[in-house]
């Protein structure tokens, strides 16, 4: 029965269901028990499953990730909570040099079925060390799957899929979405990894996005519709692998691609999408592909500064309008 719940609650439910389903699934991280996670996404799970399966850890990010790696190769399916994506850098070696490479280096003798959750994005003044959007790094690392849910239902279904995945998954929840409500079918199964969500249909322009920026894009698409510009809004949901098929089909139809991301524009994942589409659909494009993203600055604290680093619906609209000028 479809229920209204928040993005955080949906993830909590998914984890609870997966832990019930598979006794090998467990979670570890700081403050999971007493706090229940930054946004309550672990609330009650330690009471239910005990402190050996919902493990409160010391502030030891390297060991959180390494324990997950070791426990994954030894037959369990850990969910390693890193809280802020920024702190996950304290465990970059364990994630990149170990989790991502073990299956390959050892010729498939072992898989590394772990999920690492790393909250990304700005949330009202979280400033330079608690706001980064780091997806581009992980997409560049062979061996990793990268998932960026943007709705409660997706945070339910994609977390299930991530936990059932036999390879390491970097699961990036957006802090700004924790409180967002939406319909979730508690009985729904996993959402296949690598499948984008076509949020809205329109033939004038393809707007590709993921994570928190989906919200701004939906607003922009609405505004554009009022101006007579119909966009295909695609939420990629999984960045590696990303749904080339859906994006290519859409751009083949619209001839125009605009990519909007919250992360720093330079070297962001949008560049990969732009480069790939630019190469594959060269002859079908009616306008240059454009990318919107944050300027190459750390995230500032004060509101007007933070806003100067955010991509707004208005900017998306302006870019789309420019791209579709004189559209045929």
């Amino acid at each position: 029965m479809i229920t209204e719940m928040t993005y955080a609650e949906a993830a909590r439910l998914a984890l609870e269901q997966e832990m019930e389903r598979d006794p090998r699934v467990w979670a570890l991280g700081e403050d999971l028990g007493p706090e229940g996670g930054l946004a309550g996404q672990y609330r009650g799970l330690q009471e239910k499953f005990g402190p050996d399966r919902v493990v409160d850890t010391p502030i030891s990010e390297s060991m959180i990730m390494a324990a997950a790696v070791g426990a994954a190769v030894a037959g369990t399916r850990p969910v390693a909570e890193l809280r802020f994506a920024d702190f996950a850098l304290c465990a970059a070696d364990e994630l990149v040099n170990q989790a991502a490479k073990i299956r390959y280096m050892f010729n498939g003798q072992s898989r590394v079925p772990l999920v690492t959750r790393q909250a990304v994005g700005m949330r009202g003044g979280t400033a330079a060390q608690h706001s980064q959007s780091t997806e581009a790094w992980w997409v560049h690392i062979p061996g990793l799957v990268v998932v960026t849910p943007a709705t409660p239902a997706d945070n339910h279904g994609l977390l299930k899929a991530a936990i059932r995945c036999d390879d390491p998954v970097v699961y990036l929840e957006h802090k700004g979405l924790w409180g967002m409500k939406g319909p979730v079918d508690p009985d729904a199964g996993p959402i296949p990894l690598g499948k984008a969500d076509l949020v809205r249909r329109g033939d004038d322009l393809t707007l590709v996005t993921w994570s928190g920026m989906r919200v701004e894009c939906a607003k922009a698409a609405e505004m554009l519709a009022r101006e007579g510009i119909a966009v295909d809004l695609i939420d990629l949901r999984t960045l590696w692998p990303w749904d080339r098929e859906k994006v290519f089909e859409s751009v083949s139809r619209t001839g125009r691609l605009l990519i909007a991301q919250e992360a720093v524009r330079v070297g962001g994942f949008g560049a990969e999408v732009a480069a790939e589409v630019g190469e594959a659909l060269w002859s079908k494009l009616r306008a240059p592909i454009r990318r919107l993203g944050a300027p190459r600055t750390p995230v500032p604290f004060s509101l007007p500064l933070e806003e100067a680093c955010r991509v707004s619906p208005e900017q998306i609209v302006a870019a789309a309008v420019e791209m579709t000028k004189g559209k045929t």
Partner: protein
């Protein structure tokens, strides 16, 4: 004042700073709850004697570094509370121009190398600063403040080894308040904790009641003198308690009211006040200090409220010289 001892006069000065910190923190909390401050605020209330007792033994040229709970350290080292309050309010003339906020306050003019949003990283940076002191043959020391939760991070443990092998002029101040966010540190800390670890690297120091200003001051004096004389790294382990939840977003429901009340009995400000009275300092003098501190912070609050916000274009400055955003 003339009738009290030199020691009492010194302590009175430190009490003044403690009051400024406490008023600052209470005002910061109110401002956050009123929506004037973004992000979150980690209040130092209850731990003031540590920052103040240590920094009273430092010179303006000495360095300190801090963590997420850094307001007290900054004020104790000499940062301007008005600029700091403006920083919390995200104002253009805040200590960091509104770019940093509560967790990223630094004031290089008085040797405050920065609060830090990453647990333990302030400490590792202080050790690096101490290495610069050694290389430049300067007469300075570096002091770093961190919590009992930080001691399980590998980089901090690397820093103990590092400070000792290079014999660096650094004081590690561990503020043991029993909690790392919502987790009891006793539950996630093996062995006898910080002191045993520091000692295993050959680092000596002292353990004090962190709510006893005089004890902190005296221990810091001894340790810093030893460091200045080339004795290498030392530690100060100070047991204390934070009166408030971890930060303004935290409910604090993992601690009993009873525990909180017991610790409030040991409030460092009340204890310092009692000592001063016992030394013949007049109650009025103490009250006037308290009032002054309150008035200063009220002015800071008012000033912050009306100070101008930064212009959006400031977001693009001071990133880097080469390759800065257009």
């Amino acid at each position: 004042m003339s009738r009290v001892s030199n020691q009492a006069a010194r302590v009175l000065g430190m009490l003044r700073t403690m009051h400024v910190i406490r008023e600052f923190e209470e005002a910061a909390g109110r401002a956050w709850h009123a929506g004037h401050v973004r992000g979150s605020v980690h209040q130092y209330v209850g731990q003031e004697a540590i920052a103040v007792g240590v920094c009273a033994n430092l010179r303006p040229t000495d360095y300190i570094s801090s963590n997420h709970r850094g307001h007290g350290h900054s004020i104790a080292k000499g940062a301007d509370p008005v600029g700091m309050m403006k920083e919390l309010f995200g104002r253009a003339d805040g200590t960091c121009g509104g770019k940093g906020g509560s967790m990223h306050i630094a004031d290089f003019s008085i040797g405050m190398l920065g609060a830090n949003g990453v647990v333990a990283d302030g400490a590792t940076i202080a050790v690096g600063a101490a290495q610069a002191i050694k290389i430049l043959r300067q007469d300075r020391v570096a002091v770093t403040f961190f919590g009992d939760g930080a001691i399980n991070r590998g980089p901090l443990m690397e820093s103990f080894n590092w400070a000792k092998i290079y014999n660096l002029p650094v004081l590690f101040v561990c503020e043991h308040n029993g909690y790392a966010a919502t987790t009891r540190t006793a539950d996630v800390t093996a062995g006898e904790g910080f002191v045993a670890r520091a000692r295993s690297f050959g680092i000596d120091g002292e353990s004090v009641d962190g709510n006893d200003l005089l004890a902190v001051d005296a221990a810091a004096e001894r340790l810093i003198a030893r460091i200045r004389a080339g004795g290498g790294p030392a530690y100060l382990f100070a047991t204390t308690y934070r009166h408030h939840p971890h930060n303004t977003r935290d409910t604090g429901n993992y601690r009993t009211q009873d525990e909180i009340d017991r610790w409030k009995q040991k409030d460092p400000i009340a204890r310092t006040t009692a000592w001063l009275l016992s030394q013949g300092v007049a109650q009025e003098e103490i009250t006037s200090i308290e009032n002054e501190a309150r008035a200063l912070i009220e002015r800071a609050f008012e000033a912050a409220l009306v100070a101008p916000l930064p212009s959006p274009s400031a977001a693009y400055t001071d990133v880097q010289d080469v390759g800065a955003p257009q």
